[in-house]
Symmetry: C2
Subunit: 364 residues, 2 copies
């Protein structure tokens, strides 16, 4: 097996694969990258058993073949090399000879047979979406995914396909974030799947242009095909809670607030908090929103934002992190807050189908 | 006590002081910044009991006074504020009222009497040096300071003043780095002091221009006075080893090597190393320096650098970290390696008075 590949392109490809590498001492091959040389291309793959990531690049293949090499070591070496091309020569013992400029290395690989096989699955539905739009959608909700493994379904993002619309939902039981979007190209009908957070974040990291992203949905797996990669992940098995019923049917008040100003004030006022107190109070008053917080150890503070409001005086308390999260991650210039009373869910709406629901803190 | 200060200047001043803050739960006041308002200026000071750092800034003082405020909280708040000026009003209970734009805060301070007093000391000698030159000198040797507390003297940098020359020395017993410089303005005669590494690094961080740095040396303390700060540190008590005798009197061979190329090759070849092997071998051959390394787990590698050398074939082994450290931190384009045989100290010389001595690794 022998081939030549452009150093810079190989470096970028190995960087792309770098985060899906298993560190499981039980399966040493999981820390390796599978190298497949055929005709004029090189297919590189890594996997952590949950996610499989592949990328293809041009190569001059003298004799085809397949093997695996330690992924991190190979990436570091190729990053240090200074020549234009890297020549690979791999023997039947999976000894990998690398030559680049004056550098001459031998890495000990492992047989390709040890590397987990790619599992094919039946595609039940397919979505096409602009890479940049998908990136924005995931970013606007991912922070609300639960970190608590005891409810497995909540550790992923719900991808709900319904009537030509894709809705992404994340919740940890205390707040819920959803992002809805009409999609031009959907096939296969309505379907709900739960994507592990790691896979969604990984796809987001890999997107870097404005090409099309194709999402193929199966019963137990799902594949994302972008310009430079193909990522297949296992789905999370479980029932996602009925998120629609979390959103109140109606609200008595609606206020528009400048997002960046509101966020700055939440962050400023929260600085006064200490471990013993962790809520800030919002006072909706005559055309101003006053933010207030205090703690026994540090002191107290207040700040305000001009708003258009002339309803009843209204006071409501929130965990400042939960209140700031959607503002930090949505791209709207202005958000709309909707509420009924201080004890029931409050909604935050952004542009383009973004909705966040948060429970106020009840003070004793 | 009441004064007004420009928000941006206050923010920079608090950032400057931020790294010298004690986190000792026994003395809560150590996590506070001392605030002294008099005439048209504000003096801010922090200390961790070893190092005391002060900075002065302009202020409009309505009524003078002195107090202390929680340093990190104050810095975060001032960083979040958006107004141009910050108004401080501090009462006799050390309650600090802060107003900036629409923000209104009260912080709980502590009495200034609790804050450690500044200790004056007798100045035995004074050095003036350009800030940028001092920064370079410390940077070129600081990595060689020992992290082992059992020989206290080696955990600091030796400042040796002799015959109009300042020499900085650092060693951990396995390698030694020294940087010598003729200084125009020295008073007080020959003197050796050991500066704690933290203080030297802190001074380096604070330097940001090309003004003059004044160093005042005492028996147990030393003060660095820069454009924007004054830092006083306790000295390390102890005998520094006689570093001059570590440097061999003569060498049989001398080779000039391009620094960046050599460093790249050391880094590349070292990638093949694993925990079980940690040396690289240099082969000085006919007009080329070959670098080589291997490990049972990963494989083997070699690379080379062109040099002007026609002496005997010579092979010597080093810890690659110790060999790369001086190259990473000195500013010379080319370094000069000097050696006698593979068992005795090897010297690396850079531009402008830089000298590094390293012991080769003896292989069994």
């Amino acid at each position: 097996m022998k081939f030549t590949v452009k150093r810079e392109k190989l470096q970028k490809a190995l960087q792309r694969l770098g985060s899906i590498i298993g560190s499981r001492s039980m399966f040493p091959v999981l820390s390796n990258v599978k190298i497949e040389a055929k005709e004029n291309s090189l297919i590189l793959s890594t996997t952590d058993l949950e996610i499989r990531l592949s990328t293809t690049l041009e190569a001059t293949v003298e004799s085809p073949g397949v093997s695996t090499a330690p992924a991190n070591k190979l990436a570091s070496l190729v990053g240090c090399f200074v020549g234009e091309n890297v020549i690979f020569e791999i023997n039947e013992k999976d000894h990998i000879n690398l030559i680049c400029g004056t550098s001459n290395f031998k890495l000990l690989g492992l047989p390709a047979e040890d590397f987990p096989k790619e599992e094919k699955f039946e595609v039940k539905g397919e979505i096409k979406i602009k890479e940049s739009e998908f990136k924005k959608m995931v970013g606007s909700i991912a922070y609300a995914v639960s970190a608590d493994d005891s409810r497995k379904a909540l550790t992923g993002i719900l991808f709900s396909v319904k009537e030509g619309c894709l809705t992404l939902v994340a919740t940890d039981g205390k707040r819920l974030a959803m992002q809805e979007k009409a999609i031009e190209s959907i096939s296969g009908g309505d379907q709900d799947v739960i994507i592990p957070l790691k896979a969604a974040k990984e796809v987001r990291r890999l997107l870097d242009g404005d090409g099309d992203l194709t999402i193929q949905l199966g019963d137990k797996q799902c594949t994302f095909i972008g310009k430079n990669f193909e990522l297949t992940t296992k789905l999370i098995d479980g029932n996602y809670p009925n998120y629609r019923q979390v959103v109140p049917a109606s609200f008595s008040s609606t206020v528009d607030i400048s997002k960046s100003l509101f966020l700055n004030k939440i962050e400023t006022v929260s600085l006064i908090l200490s471990d013993s107190s962790s809520y800030i109070i919002l006072h909706f008053e005559d055309n101003q929103l006053k933010l207030q917080a205090s703690s026994v150890e540090v002191g107290e503070g207040s700040d305000m934002v001009d708003i258009a409001y002339n309803g009843e005086l209204f006071e409501v308390s929130f965990n400042p992190v939960f209140l700031a999260d959607p503002l930090r991650n949505c791209e709207s210039e202005s958000i709309r807050m909707k509420f009924n009373d201080p004890l029931n869910p409050v909604a935050i709406e952004g542009d383009e189908g973004f909705l966040y629901v948060i429970m106020p803190i009840r003070k004793k």
